[in-house]
Symmetry: C2
Subunit: 423 residues, 2 copies
Amino acid sequence: MSEKPEKTKKLSTEPYKGVRDFYPVDMAIQNYIFDTWKKTAESFGYEEYGASVLEPANLYKAKSGDEIVNEQTYTFIDRGEREVTLRPEMTPTLARMVAAKKRELVFPLRWYSIPNLFRYEQPQRGRVREHWQLNVDLFGIDGISADVEIISLASQVMKDFGATESDFLIKISSREWLDKWLEWLALELGDDLKTQTNKEHLFKLLDIKDKDPERFAAGLKKIRSDLTPNLVLGKEIDWDAIEKNLNVKTKSLTSKLKAAGINNAIIDLTSVIRGFDYYTGIVFEIYDTDPKNRRALFGGGRYDDLTSLFGGDRIPAVGFGMGDVTIRDFLETRGLLPKTKAPADYYICVMGQEEAAFAEKIAKNLRDNGSRVAVDFTYKKIGDQIKSADKRGILNVIVIGPEEAKNGKVKVKNLKSGEEKAL
Amino acid sequence: MSEKPEKTKKLSTEPYKGVRDFYPVDMAIQNYIFDTWKKTAESFGYEEYGASVLEPANLYKAKSGDEIVNEQTYTFIDRGEREVTLRPEMTPTLARMVAAKKRELVFPLRWYSIPNLFRYEQPQRGRVREHWQLNVDLFGIDGISADVEIISLASQVMKDFGATESDFLIKISSREWLDKWLEWLALELGDDLKTQTNKEHLFKLLDIKDKDPERFAAGLKKIRSDLTPNLVLGKEIDWDAIEKNLNVKTKSLTSKLKAAGINNAIIDLTSVIRGFDYYTGIVFEIYDTDPKNRRALFGGGRYDDLTSLFGGDRIPAVGFGMGDVTIRDFLETRGLLPKTKAPADYYICVMGQEEAAFAEKIAKNLRDNGSRVAVDFTYKKIGDQIKSADKRGILNVIVIGPEEAKNGKVKVKNLKSGEEKAL
């Protein structure tokens, strides 16, 4: 612990490294994003849940990639010697909560949440240490209908933000299909790929195929050298043949999505993997169609085994997570962010302390009728008070002086049109 | 760090100690509280801001009581050797943000936020390790009008929750008035009370006067023995005489509050102190009038010097904080919590996989018209699906079988009235 600073020493006004302050103008955007998320999720009958950012560290040790738990979490020991983690993702919390009450809950569950998540990483564009994420999950349905619903909901969020299908692309793959492909690859190439280690290597590698081609190539070389020399991962792979193998399932999914009004979904087995180990079925990612933005905007998939970590039966689940930073970037770039609303409908300018009580009365009446009203109690010159209203973008101004307080008659001036009306 | 558990070991479904999981039924209450807070604050022209829960630990060392920083915070060292604290209160963050941009911001500022706050304490009723708090603050107005506005807003929140003036009592004191009283007391009793240490002791002591009479009596005895024997804190204090001394100021405030429609505010110099050291002017607390609930529901006050910790001029400020746990308790006890809303307006029951696409189309149409619609994709017996809708409290049910899918005609059944209508 560092020394207690002198009271006279100037404190820094900087926030903690890698996190954001939300001044009202930024908070308004954040609220617009959250409100849109809520509206879309609720339109599909999803209910909001929540939990603390603090979780027992053990929760993340069983299923996440090791890299995340060991190097990228905020994990510390509390004053009671408990090892605690600031949640890096919401899905383990969700699985914990569902497992805890699975006998009381009415399945299928449609749940969403907007948690803040923490990762200890070097701050850079689109990568902050704290971000918020819409999490949408459907528990209790095995069939493809649930996959279709979750992808439809993801697509609808984009549309509710004002994006059209030409603005984004839904790429779909499947852990199951990939496993089949790996089996096929093993038959073609030899047995070593069946071993878990190489499979995991290959998964992680495929995950960075488009994002970081150099690391992908280096990793592939490494795997190749780990395999017996006659196994040729260097040989050209016939992706078409693989995809033909899986035609039936993928066609069924894309045709169902088309029926649900989604025309911008494609099957792309190898470029959609998702970082987490717990996916068991379909996985999908949504991409900006602008070639300047090559990273996935967000994604999700099916994870049928996660609740069984807590004992008892497996519960089928499918869901996705959508971060605030990437979607805000997308909306800004595409010009889809709405204009910020003024903080009040009326601004009441008050000449002097003597009229304060009358001004409060007028304000109260307007508020009781559902308006948002700010009163200027600076008692500066009325011209300055009106300027203050204008700077805030507030349209309607009411001036209260001795005359108004005396006869109780009040006028509203519209600062845009200049028009004046009795209230 | 503990060992990585075996993948086969059952994980606990318990949340971290002292924090709460919010299942949808609890989240709905939480959202009702937050929405009411937002609505009231915005009706007074307040704008929402936000910040991360992570703050540099230094932020809390300058002004908070020592007890809080040293024993009650979550403070740890991050992977980059920074000392970081999970915010225990919002005001230092707010002062930091205001100080950072004081040249760009348009004063007066009316800001609110609903942060989660962390305290490391033994969990008990009304005391959890994480709670949410409405923070409302007005920056840039010196005069009493700002104090009146903040107290009016606090009172209006209670009224917007459905409480009447007989349900709660606003007790008001003032650091300034208390200082005057202490001066007077010192003149009466001797010089020792003028020293800072005894003053702080007395403040802390007065803070627990009603909450913990035994500790109050013991502390008073301790102060008395620390003072020179001829200073008689044991002598009966003439509170009436003291209050008369301060009559002018307090009368002005209560009459202004009456003019603003507030009839349940009283001056109570010694029982309202507030724990934090940074208050400089009026302080107030709102109490449940039910004698079974003796702790303050919430409170606030004026703190004019906090931004000067960051350098530059002082900015006058007044505000309050209102916690979710105490207000929820209050609303529950008073029967003021609204009934929870069903998660959807319509529940669509689907006979088989073949009708899924048609069901999705109906759902989409309803959603496009602003309704919340959940579709049952379990393909269980229709009776079971209707039961499922009923359990969730969803009123309107649509059944889709081959017939409906073929001729496109769909009926809505109201589960309460039994009435059926064509959609």
